[in-house]
């Protein structure tokens, strides 16, 4: 029997629920609108890319009587076209606005989701001054009555721009031009940054630049490329930093200089594209995170009782769907480009891969005591 059919039989045991979709173009973006809709966007160069607002199949949204909802398909609720590759997309909460970042051209594009039709239209741009053409600014949204876009490709160019007035309301004001890999807004006044070197810090926008920072893990340039996410639930460290060689560092925001643990995740090789590295905390489970960007899998870890340095860890669950359901039969296995957790269903994740596949899966915790 074909390996795909084998895996499908296995999947009866491994997943509660499993959906697999084919988008018209691969996405590096999975951004939630509420808990029922997500946004995806294409990243091909030399081609018009689509930005789609997809509504989740009804069966994933209802809480009771799931069996009575046969709908398993995504609905395209809104769509738009982008001439550029889209590498990041953020939804501005409580508005009908989206902001995208990509290449070519170093600027942010602001879009509006139409109310009376299904079109997403480009409305304005936010200039970003960056000389190096291949860099694209990272983004995060300060949502408030007057939403602002935090953006920058380097520490020195970090700014917050008011979306409506286009005025700069915050600037890092430093000359350190280290490259950024991720930005994350934590509350109305604080954001976290992570540089490609692994240097990360928490910044209070009300003060002049004095972030609480870590020392860089690894030694100098041999440290690989890093990204990070804050947000762990439950007691224990709430910041996770992931390196392109599979190292995972857990930190406590109160003392970034002393990492709580540093472990090695079992990855067969360093990430072929460290820009795709993703580490995310589960919003519905304690001490649980997921990583992707090394191959065609998404790995879920339980970080409870991780301590110390250098140990090897094993994932709680590995999603291999993108490898086995590769419909193209191409020699190059697909690479997972991004993943995200469902905001309400504790063990449901969405993952996208370079072959334009999009999976929604609800994994079974085989370790849990019955």
């Amino acid at each position: 029997m074909e390996p795909a059919e084998d895996w499908l039989v296995e999947s009866l045991r491994l997943y509660q629920d499993f959906h697999a979709f084919d988008l018209s173009g691969a996405t590096r973006v999975l951004e939630w609108i509420g808990d029922k809709g997500i946004l995806v966007a294409g990243y091909e160069s030399l081609k018009k890319n689509e930005i789609l607002h997809l509504i989740l199949p009804l069966r994933l949204s209802v809480k009771e009587n799931q069996g009575l909802f046969p709908e398993r398909d995504f609905k395209v609720r809104h769509g738009g076209f982008s001439d550029r590759s889209v590498f990041d997309l953020k939804y501005v909460p409580d508005t009908r606005l989206l902001v995208t970042s990509g290449l070519p051209g170093c600027y942010l594009q602001v879009w509006q989701v139409a109310e009376d039709s299904d079109v997403i239209k480009a409305v304005s741009t936010i200039d970003v001054h960056e000389k190096e053409g291949r860099l694209w600014p990272r983004m995060a949204i300060f949502s408030s009555a007057a939403p602002g876009v935090l953006h920058g490709a380097r520490l020195s160019s970090l700014k917050v721009v008011d979306l409506e007035s286009q005025k700069t309301t915050y600037s890092s004001g430093i000359s350190d031009d280290e490259l950024l890999s991720s930005l994350q807004v934590l509350d109305a006044d604080t954001f976290a940054f992570c540089c490609t070197s692994g240097r990360l810090g928490l910044v209070d926008t009300r003060q002049k630049w004095t972030p609480s920072e870590n020392f860089r893990p690894g030694s100098g340039s041999a440290g690989g490329r890093w990204c990070a996410e804050a947000g762990g639930r439950g007691p224990g460290p709430s910041i996770a930093s992931l390196g392109s060689d599979g190292q995972l560092c857990l930190l406590d925001p109160r003392d970034l200089c002393q990492p709580v643990s540093l472990v090695q995740c079992p990855v067969s090789m360093p990430s072929p594209d460290p820009e795709l590295l993703r580490v995310t905390w589960a919003p519905g489970l304690d001490n649980c995170l997921a990583i992707s960007g090394f191959d065609g899998t998404v790995q879920v870890y339980d970080v409870t009782s991780w301590g110390g340095m250098g140990r090897q860890v094993e994932p709680l669950f590995t999603h291999k769907g993108h490898i086995f359901l590769d419909g193209n039969g191409m020699d190059t296995a697909p690479l997972v480009t991004t993943h995200t957790w469902h905001p309400c269903k504790p063990r449901t994740l969405l993952s996208a891969a370079s072959d334009a596949s999009l999976h929604v899966w609800d994994w079974v915790d085989l370790h849990a005591a019955r």
Binding site: L12, D17, S24, E50, G67, R72, F74, H78
Partner: protein
């Protein structure tokens, strides 16, 4: 109802399956008490001429047939149905069929259900393709829809599911298998009410494929009667199924199942797990309802509804969440068994529609069955990707499409060769004037040389020649004037063949220019410009050019 009594074109499987589908429909219609359809089960060998009756409600006894199954009291009559000759290979088309001397139709394989087809309708050089329901992804028993680069003026496609991105077939199947597996594992019974045709076969094949792998021992049954008849039809129409099935058919008949057996009423009372496919599909009567009543009270059991249920049927009630049903005799049935609603219907989604448009390459696309507000993005997508106009008319709205019909004209080889022999080679960017005669005969258009046309018509040829005199002030001799004319024309008329002949005359293509002295005024030279009717345009141009005078000699 609309008063049509002309021929109805359908594919062979449709003609055979039609009566069964209508029989199923009739049962629901009776429930709805909307119409009484009179029906007659066809002997599927013959092309019968029968008349279409208006829906008047007369019920007649059916003629006795040799079939064990006799239809209940309904009579349904069809106009002559003409079978589309087999072109059911996938990918496949039928040959072009002439309806009359102007209208041609062609059927394309549509997947979706056995015998489904998309139709191309052609009059002259204009054509429309109407898709109906189609499926661009192959499933277990049918291939995928396919159309060639027929470039119709218009492609009409339904867009109900155009704004969906479909979950993969594998995941739908997985969900079905999971439900069956879980129920059977806990010792429960699974009831799957099905229509006579369609999903039953698909699901049988699916279970058959996985039963061994999943190491399940529980029996799978399908109810006798219509489902068997359907399998019989499927065997007849194996060429209409997909390649995989046809390949295995050679080794072993895919429709003779190893694990799926014929059902006997008594089995419903057997203890232990089992899976049963039973008709009818909406649990509104018959065997499936009987079994449902026996199994409903046990929460270990499951009923899987594989499709839409009409209001009023038991199927519809339980899918709405009803757990207490009133049966005949005021008996209340408590439904404790698990109710699952699964949709297996296969329609084209956004991706499928784009694929089909890409294959057919129409000039225009028309989307039906959608809501305008929800189609704007798809319309833009189609327009951008294929550079065609896309329309979304509302019900009752008329759309007018401009077309540019082409009239093919054959040109005689002799004429072409003669043209090529004259003067410069043709330049594809420059229009070149060609003289010929268009003969229209027997719906045939030919462009031939005038001589040829005259010969065919038996007429004598007449030649028209124009001569014009242009007076030029020039005191030199005629020969020198001729040289001046030659040089001037050569420099101005770079695209034409200008020659200076030994006898002193100048030719431009076939136009002759001769210089002569004026009889009375030695300071004036007379240019005789002479051309045939065919060269009128160039001749007139030359004349006016020469009238402007010659440049001063250097």
């Amino acid at each position: 109802m609309v008063g049509y009594d002309g021929p109805i074109y359908m594919t062979q499987p449709t003609q055979a399956i039609c009566p069964i589908l209508l029989e199923d429909y009739r049962k629901i219609a009776v429930d709805k008490k909307v119409v009484e359809i009179t029906k007659h089960i066809h002997d599927n060998r013959a092309l019968r001429y029968v008349e279409l009756l208006p829906l008047s409600g007369t019920v007649q006894e059916p003629q006795s047939t040799s079939n064990a199954f006799t239809p209940p009291l309904t009579h349904w009559l069809l106009s002559p149905c003409i079978l589309i000759p087999s072109a059911c290979e996938t990918p496949g088309t039928s040959p072009l069929m002439l309806v009359d001397d102007e209208l041609e139709i062609k059927a394309y394989y549509a997947g979706h259900v056995l015998g489904a087809a998309m139709f191309q309708i052609k009059v002259g050089s204009e054509s429309v393709v109407y898709t109906g329901d189609y499926n661009m992804t192959p499933d277990r028993h049918l291939g995928a829809a396919w159309i060639d680069k027929c470039r119709p003026n218009l492609l009409i496609t339904e867009s109900t599911y155009a704004t969906t991105i479909r979950d993969s077939k594998r995941c739908r199947e997985r969900d079905f298998l999971k439900k069956v597996h879980e129920t059977v594992e806990r010792g429960g019974k699974v009831l799957i009410p099905v229509f006579a045709l369609g999903r039953a076969q698909e699901l049988c094949i699916l279970l058959e494929t996985f039963w061994e792998r999943m190491d399940l021992k529980a029996p799978i049954y399908f109810s006798t009667g219509l489902t068997e008849k359907a399998n019989h039809y499927y065997k007849l129409f194996i060429p209409w199924t997909n390649q995989k099935i046809r390949k295995t058919f050679v080794q072993r008949n895919m429709f003779e199942f190893k694990h799926v057996k014929a059902f006997d009423r008594a089995f419903a009372d057997s203890p232990g797990p089992m899976v049963v496919f039973a008709t009818p599909g909406m649990l509104h009567a018959g065997q499936s309802l009987q079994i449902f009543r026996k199994w409903a009270g046990n929460e270990k059991n499951m009923v899987i509804m594989p499709g839409y249920c009409v209001q009023g049927t038991v199927g519809h009630k339980i899918l709405s969440g009803q757990r207490k049903l009133e049966m005949e005799g005021r008996q209340v049935l408590e439904v404790k068994m698990q109710v699952e609603y699964m949709s297996f219907s296969a329609h084209a989604d956004a991706k499928g529609i784009m694929q089909l448009v890409g294959q057919a390459e129409p000039e225009n696309v028309l989307l039906v069955h959608g809501e305008a507000k929800k189609m704007e993005f798809l319309k833009q997508k189609i327009e951008q990707e294929f550079r065609v106009s896309c329309y979304m008319p509302a019900n009752g709205e008329t759309v007018t499409l401009p077309t540019s019909p082409s009239i093919p004209v054959g040109i005689s080889l002799g004429l072409l060769k003669r043209e090529l022999a004259q003067g410069l080679l043709p330049d594809s960017k420059k229009p070149r004037l060609l003289h010929g005669t268009l003969i229209m005969k027997d719906s045939n258009f030919r462009l031939v040389s005038s001589e040829q046309a005259l010969k065919e018509l038996g007429l004598a040829e007449h030649q028209l020649r124009f001569t014009c005199r242009v007076h030029l002030h020039d005191t030199r001799k005629e020969q020198e004037t001729a040289v001046r004319v030659y040089s001037h024309l050569k420099s101005v008329l770079k695209d034409h063949c200008v020659q200076h002949l030994p006898d002193g005359s100048v030719t431009v293509e076939s136009i002759l220019i001769q210089a002569a002295a004026h009889s009375e005024d030695p300071g004036t030279k007379v240019l005789l410009v002479s051309w045939t009717y065919q060269d009128e345009e160039l001749g007139s141009y030359l004349t006016s050019l020469l009238k402007k005078g010659l440049p001063q000699a250097s």
